[in-house]
Amino acid sequence: MIYQLLEQIISGLISGASYALVGAGLSLIWGTLKMINFAHGEFYMLGGYALFLGGSVFGLHPALAALAAVLVVMVISCVTEKSLISSLLDKPGWDVSPFVITLGISIFLQNLALKVWGERFRNVPYFDSSIYEVLGVRISGQRLIILAVALIVIAVFMIFLKKTRMGWSLKATAQDREAATLVGIDIKSIYMWTFGLSGALAALAGAMLAPIYSVNPWMGIPLLIKGFVVCVLGGLGSLEGAILAGFALGIAENLGVMFWTSEWKDVISYSLFVIVLWVRPSGLFGEKEW
């Protein structure tokens, strides 16, 4: 029983790592631009495809392919912001228009991927196919890598936000846009970089998870919804909240599977989410009600 519990908690941490990465990206965008990015799942999907192409077409080392995937998607998402989103900024209807435009981008990218790479599910070999024993639980190397990379990236990202000038201006823009402009922050470029970073986090998750779930044009949708849930659970705009909520949701889902069959896994997590909204609309860690 204890062994089983431990096993579920560890696998919960691992799926939580991907939720945290995706949720953090969504939360970052909400924090600075006050918008929801419906195309976030497609950046995750593009990350998966970029890794697949880098690995099996160009024969890159997995680490290099993952890095390339992150960079490529970062550029794509910067371009998306600059060319499409920024023209809508501060126009009337800003509460709904980004939601709809990113919905359009999402449909577009999904079907572009379908057109270019076909509907076949692409399998990517494990980065590390050996099995390790941690605390008496057997885990594949791939899953350990995911957890380690996610933790490192999240830590680096936090340090980046806290210690660098870029990070400061990002947070300043999130806190108060007018004040940020007054102290000379170019908020237009901050918006672009926010989008880029958020896309990079999603692509990283996509690249890391590609070997476990095979790559396909629709892989972004379920994870996007999970990302939304994580984002709201953690309190919209709270980065730490999203990360904590990501891990919490991963563990809660996996513990739920011990008592119910796995088909009900998503029902558990969405119900949890609705209950939290009911009793604490600002999210578990958020200070502000939106």
């Binding site: 023209s87 209807g93 509460d95 435009i101 939304f228 088909e263 029902v267 989410f273 009600e289 939106w290």
Partner: protein, 327 residues
């Protein structure tokens, strides 16, 4: 002479099945009217009240499943099932509405309602012994004959049935827009705080509009079930329906009476006739959404092009009508 611009499209829509015999075209028109009614019911929430929900498919699907299952299992007449489905949907509407009372930001509400809709989809998928899951619920009976009108042959009776539902929905939306309720809704849309301060009972009004909107969606869902005769969770409870509704209302024009109708016809016809371009269909669809948001953020109805056209038609109408009344 506003009745003029309402009456003529109505006469055209009412007379179409007489002119067009092709069952395929009638089918497309049925879908157009159905989506117009559904988009109108969502517009009550998003356009009239400013509550951007993203889970309207749940009401549609619940209505469809309730009516279908009641008819199959208990032999309840689809006519009654239609209404029961509507009530089931409005019950869900209240459940969805309550957590949305305290939420204000559009994305928050969108995510919350999406979560609830996804729950209903997965539940329908998992309760295989009731809904048959993704295998599809088949064997749904058609509407029993209504007097001399039989629903077994041809699609024309279905056309008139959905036409009536469409008229009811539009009339209700029109009535709400003119009523004190409509004013309360508009005040909530413009500013919740201001609405509260002038004495609008915001939670009550929100629950009322959630109930009405979800009832209508459930009713239309019931129609869909007894028309298409096969249901799967992903087709009636899935996100794609919601995406279509967003496209229709946004392209047509949010918060206007005509917007959702024009949008529904445009998008339905477009998705049907874009089948020619095959795999590029959805690609174009996504691009159109993006372009609409950038160049006509408030929709087609209020865009400068249409206003210019309606200026011209208004001018022509004045000549025609003026000419008739003077002679």
């Amino acid at each position: 002479m506003k009745w003029f611009s309402v009456l003529i499209p109505l006469i055209i829509l009412g007379g179409l099945p007489v002119l067009v015999q092709d069952p395929y075209i009638i089918h497309i028109l049925i879908l157009c009217l159905m989506f117009a009614a559904l988009a109108q019911s969502w517009n009550l929430l998003v356009g009239f009240t400013g509550i951007f929900t993203f889970g309207h498919q749940a009401f549609f699907g619940i209505g469809a499943y309730f009516s279908a299952i009641l008819a199959i299992r208990l032999g309840i007449s689809p006519w009654l099932g239609l209404v029961i489905g509507g009530f089931a949907a409005s019950l869900l509407g209240i459940v969805v509405g309550i957590p949305c009372l305290r939420l204000r930001a559009a994305p928050y509400i969108a995510i919350a309602t999406l979560g609830l809709a996804e729950i209903s989809r997965i539940v329908a998928q998992n309760l295989v012994n009731i809904t048959r899951g993704e295998m599809g619920l088949s064997g749904i009976p058609e509407f029993p004959p209504l007097g001399p009108i039989s629903f077994l042959e041809g699609r024309v009776p279905y056309y008139y049935l959905i036409f009536i539902l469409f008229l009811l929905t539009t009339a209700l939306a029109f009535w709400i827009a003119k009523s004190p309720l409509g004013l309360a809704l508009a005040s909530i849309r413009e500013s919740q705080d201001a609405a509260e301060s002038i004495g609008v009972n915001v939670p009550r009004v929100k629950i009322i509009i959630f109930t009405i909107s979800s009832f209508l969606a459930g009713l239309i869902g019931g129609f869909y079930a007894h028309y298409i005769l096969i249901l799967t969770p992903s087709s009636v409870l899935g996100v794609p329906i919601m995406i279509e509704l967003v496209a229709m209302v946004l392209i047509g024009g949010m918060g206007t009476l005509m917007g959702p109708i024009v949008g529904a016809f445009l998008v339905t016809l477009m998705t049907e006739y874009l089948r020619v371009v095959g795999e590029y269909r959805l690609l174009i669809y996504g691009a159109i959404l993006v372009i609409t948001m950038i160049y006509m953020p408030s929709g087609l109805i209020t865009s400068p092009i249409i206003r210019r056209i309606s200026l011209i038609t208004g001018f022509l109408r004045r000549i025609v009508v003026g000419g008739m009344s003077s002679s």
